[in-house]
């Protein structure tokens, strides 16, 4: 069996490399290039899809050492349960996205070099998989950087556009700075152990001084947080995701951000062992802030891909809420409660990959059909693209955490973890933080729902708002299959979460020594162990049964339909115009996305600081206005108050310093002179 697993790993990695190579070589024949490139990607994902669960089910890690070494560190791939889980996540999403890409990439033929797309696309998946499987920090950093680079090239794929280039630049700068933090953390670990091997680290946790541990923790939080897009390090994210081709955005948002979560869990929970309580609290707060602000900024966006990108910030926040709770419990030694948080976080990792991937693919499909990303120019698409619309609706429901889809399952677990914080014996502060953050999560969920009512409603319902939207047609079948697969998974993971809980069992066992199954319930149940907290004997354990809920829903729908059939007088409905105060309804009269989000913009004006500009054009006198042009914007808080001043400071400083090289040879000689004199005085 291990031999088989090894083979799978090698097949997975090599077929991606082959795909990259071949699709570039064939770039003169774009159709063939697309076919070959994405077929190899699919092959690799299928291999990964077998490999990940196989390792998880066998409960043994896999080690593959290749005969290759650089300065003492061997090229070793090592898949522990955590890695295997992430491999599964990546494979699941990449498979669907690669299927989708057959159709999607063909839109680029004649416009861009699709060979290059295939090259980087395959390399991108390769680098993520290799990164997850790395067994030492050198390889990790190596593939981490390769991943950043390749994704950078994908972001600037349509580089003729200035905005795209700018987005790409901000992206690579931010991610590179993040990498520096990670690297420092790794080097500190290396200094303590003299080894790059992750395997060596897990045993040293108790030898590290608490200060050093905390330093490393802060460093990885910053480093991985940048990649994951936590507030306020998220600014690259809403710029880079829209710039990339949609299939790439799906991967970036769906799984690339998760590699950061993987790295974080790996270091913070696996390597550093038990930490201080404030670690967990910090992560909880970061999570809550990211979740709430992420969704709020998303609400203000009308570019569908930017909107989705902000939702990535939100969902990373939700994931971190679960993980933060787990960290808190772990530091108190309540591992059975840490289990809930960890499971919630990891489950949401998978769920977010699935539904966000689906939504990005949906956005890609809509863009494919309407050539715009501005939702104000869409509308009425549900009739023109019924399947895309249907899948997008499922994605919207899932991301809003609405049962019976998968988002609900993991958010429910997150809620439970936060409530457990409230009722376990952790002291008043924790007990208050838990439910309060629960309320924040509730706010997030409700805002997300508002946002997707807006997105789906404006994009797919009512009357088309532009000629492009009117002419839209359903996308090719491969794209539908890719989306359909993910939509199906949204439902399956939502109704049968035990599949995932089951797979997570070895992961949690390896991280906190407890398996999920006995505690988180058996089949068809999602249980949470009763918490004997405030001295209350718990009468009912927390549990939901998603299949039962779905059954109840379906049953009630059937009953109601029967009832209606029986009692309603008219069986037919009459189709007529929408009532519009007696005038004909045109698309200009519809509620726009801007007006839809207006109440929220006003309610949270302290955060958004909306600005508004109104221009009047008039005939003769201001009373006879011929045209009013109104323009609104919100202030990008973090850019205005953090990044722009920082950048300004840097550039100003650099400008000042460059005056040192003023061109005067006298000055230059003066430097030498001063250096020499200084050395003569001080250095002896």
């Amino acid at each position: 069996m291990p031999v088989f697993d090894e083979l799978l790993l090698i097949v997975m990695l090599t077929s991606l490399l082959l795909g990259a190579l071949l699709s570039y070589v064939l770039h003169k024949k774009p159709r063939l290039s697309i076919f070959v490139g994405f077929t190899f990607a699919n092959l690799a994902c299928l291999a990964g899809l077998v490999l990940g669960p196989a390792i998880l089910l066998s409960k043994h890690s896999l080690d593959v050492i290749l005969p290759w070494s650089v300065f003492g560190t061997s090229l070793q791939f090592s898949l522990n349960p955590l890695a295997a889980f992430f491999i599964t996540v990546i494979s699941v999403l990449s498979l669907s996205v690669s299927v989708f890409s057959y159709g999607y990439a063909s839109a680029y033929i004649g416009k861009q070099n699709v060979g290059v797309l295939g090259l980087f696309y395959n390399l991108f998946i390769f680098s993520m998989l290799a990164l997850i499987s790395s067994s030492n920090t050198f390889m990790f950093l190596f593939f981490w950087e390769v991943m950043s680079l390749v994704s950078y090239f994908l972001v600037v794929f349509e580089h003729q556009d200035y905005e795209v280039r700018r987005a790409g630049f901000i992206y690579i700068v931010m991610t590179h700075i993040g990498t520096a933090f990670i690297a420092i953390a790794f080097f500190l670990l290396y200094k303590e152990t003299g080894s790059y091997d992750f395997a060596q680290y897990s045993s040293i946790a108790h030898n590290l001084s608490p200060t050093l541990k905390s330093v490393i923790f802060i460093l990885v939080t910053l480093g991985f947080g940048t990649k994951a897009g936590i507030v306020p390090l998220h600014i690259w994210l809403p710029k880079a995701h829209p710039a990339a081709p949609s299939n790439v955005s799906a991967l970036m948002s769906g799984v690339m951000l998760k590699t950061a979560i993987y790295g974080f869990i790996r270091i913070a929970m696996d390597v550093l062992g038990v930490g201080s309580v404030w670690w967990g609290v910090l992560i909880l707060i970061i999570g809550a802030v990211s979740a709430v602000l992420g969704v709020m900024y998303a609400l203000m966006e009308h570019d569908i891909k930017r909107l989705l990108a902000y939702h990535s910030v939100e969902n990373i926040g939700i994931i971190l809420l679960g993980i933060g709770a787990a960290l808190v419990f772990k530091s108190y030694g309540y591992n059975n409660l840490a289990l809930i948080g960890l499971t919630a976080g990891l489950f949401h990792v998978l769920n977010h990959a699935v539904f966000k991937g689906l939504l990005f693919l949906g956005a890609g499909a809509v863009h494919y059909a309407t050539h715009t990303r501005n939702i104000e120019e869409m509308g009425g698409l549900l009739k023109r693209m019924p399947w895309t619309g249907f899948f997008f609706l499922i994605g919207s429901l899932a991301i809003s955490g609405i049962p019976p889809f998968n988002g609900f399952a993991s958010e429910w677990l997150t809620f439970q973890a936060l409530l457990a914080l409230g009722s376990a014996k952790l002291g008043a502060t924790m007990n208050i933080i838990g439910p309060a953050l629960g309320a924040a999560l509730a706010l997030t969920g409700a805002l997300a729902a508002a946002c997707f009512v807006k997105a789906f409603g404006i994009m797919f319902l009512a009357i088309p708002r532009s000629v492009n939207a009117e002419k839209a047609k359903e996308v090719p079948r491969t794209m539908l299959v890719g989306m359909g697969l993910l939509a199906l998974l949204c439902l399956i993971f939502g109704v049968m979460p035990f599949i995932v809980i089951n797979l997570l069992s070895p992961v949690t066992y390896s991280l906190i020594g407890i398996e999920t199954i006995p505690l988180l319930g058996g089949y068809s149940w999602l249980n949470v162990p009763p918490i004997v907290g405030q001295g209350v004997a718990v009468i009912k354990p927390n549990s939901i049964s998603p299949p039962m809920v779905l059954a109840a829903l379906v049953l009630s729908v059937l009953l109601i339909s029967l009832f209606i059939k029986k009692f309603a007088k008219f069986s037919m409905v009459r189709i007529d115009e929408t009532w519009n105060c007696g005038t004909d309804l045109t698309s200009e009269m519809e509620y726009s996305a801007t007006s839809f989000s207006n109440p929220i913009r006003i309610m949270f004006r302290a955060i958004f600081q909306p600005t508004r500009e109104t221009k009047k054009e008039f005939v003769l006198k201001p009373y006879f206005t011929s045209r009013i042009k109104s323009q609104g914007a919100i202030k990008p808080f973090f850019e205005d108050h953090l990044y722009r001043p920082l950048l300004k400071f840097f550039l100003k400083f650099a400008d000042k310093v460059t005056a040192l090289q003023s061109g005067s040879i006298h000055l230059y000689l003066g430097y030498i002179f001063a250096t020499l004199v200084a050395l003569l005085i001080f250095a002896r």
Partner: protein, 487 residues
Amino acid sequence: MPLILLALPLAMALLCLMVTDRRLLGAISIVGLATIVLTTVLIARQVFTGSNVVWGQFIFIDALSSLILCLVGIIGFMVALYSIGYLDHDIQEGQLSERRLKYFYFSLYIFVFTMFLVLVSANLGIMWVAVEGTTLATALLVGFYNKRNSLEAAWKYIIICTVGIIFALFGTILLHYAAVSVTGESGSLDWQTLRRVARQLDPKLLKLAFIFVLVGYGTKAGLAPMHTWLPDAHSQAPSPISAMLSGVLLNCAFYGIIRFHLIITEALGPQFSSNLILFFGVLSIAVALPFILVQHDIKRLLAYSSVEHMGIIAAAVGLGSKLALYGAFLHMINHALTKSSLFFIVGNVCQHYRTKRIIRIKGLVKTMPITGPALVIGGLAIAGSPPFSIFMSEFIIISSGFAQGRNVVSSLILILITLIFTGVIYATSNMALGTPPSRVKVGEQGNFAVAFVLIPLLPVAILGVYIPAFIQTILQQVTAVFIGGNQ
């Protein structure tokens, strides 16, 4: 053998003076440098497989010198090949007259000769003469275009470097003075002898000597704040010469510092000179940063990047552990290859776009389908991102810093490198991407030019993922030079 090494470039230089024909000159230069590469490789082979090469009183080649010898040979060879296409283009454009071509090759060979002399001489005095010789040989090359800016650059170059080198001479004299009573007249500047007797020398004098040498050779090696000539000279020289200056000349000058450093370390222990070198190394990286961030001229940017990389090498030598030294010399190789290829690339680009200003160069991936991507790759490589070799050496250097417990310095270096990365990427991506200006036509600068853009990048890419055994052996032997003092 070492005699051939020295005689060959001299002979070629004289030969070049007698020829005017463009093709013939090219052919001569290729053949000449090919022979020279062969010689250096043979010498290196001898050194690395067994014994150091000694000839008479004045020539001594050990692992360290032969490593740099090879670099000089290889980069020189590539420069000779690249120059053919580059100069042809210049002549066609009317930038140069064919008549002056022979002076170019003449100076090139003298340049190679002086660098060889630096590396093979066993005597610090002769080494000094040779280092000054490199300045003289290249001063006219820097001003080769005879334009205002290039003359200004040449002037600054020769003045600043000469001033610096005078200090180095003074340091040498002080050392000589310290040693003469111990070793007698004959061995007083022989670095091997000096290293052997180092502990008997007057420490105060040695310190003073080292300060002067550090400032002196440091000027030539481009360590901040004595680096000021460097961006001018590198940006104004013809691109092949820039490649040579950046890729190997700086290393040769730094080689001078290392020789003194070894002696001082032997006498005073590792603290004094190591810390000074480390300080100047880090300072150089820091000084390069703002200039790279707001740079307008791509060749100047590359020059500042050379300052940065010399800083990294210096910092690594200053750190001084075995791993750090391994990294330092790996970095030296990597930097030489990457930087020279970048100068070739930029040479093509600047000729094609007829400007060096970053802002006016756009859409390279469209207009130059090979050079454009190569620029991106080169930029990434020089900025230290995997899978290219500089990532590897920087990783080694910084991790060795941490391993020594010098967390703050190592973190500082890491952060500076990170910030420099942003500057380099900003420039290269702006040049490579975007829509090209309409006046620029699509096409490469000819096969020759393209080939030598790619050839140095190949080892850069390979070394990033795989260090062959022979290079590891070489590096280990070079590192060993630092450890065995009393052999």
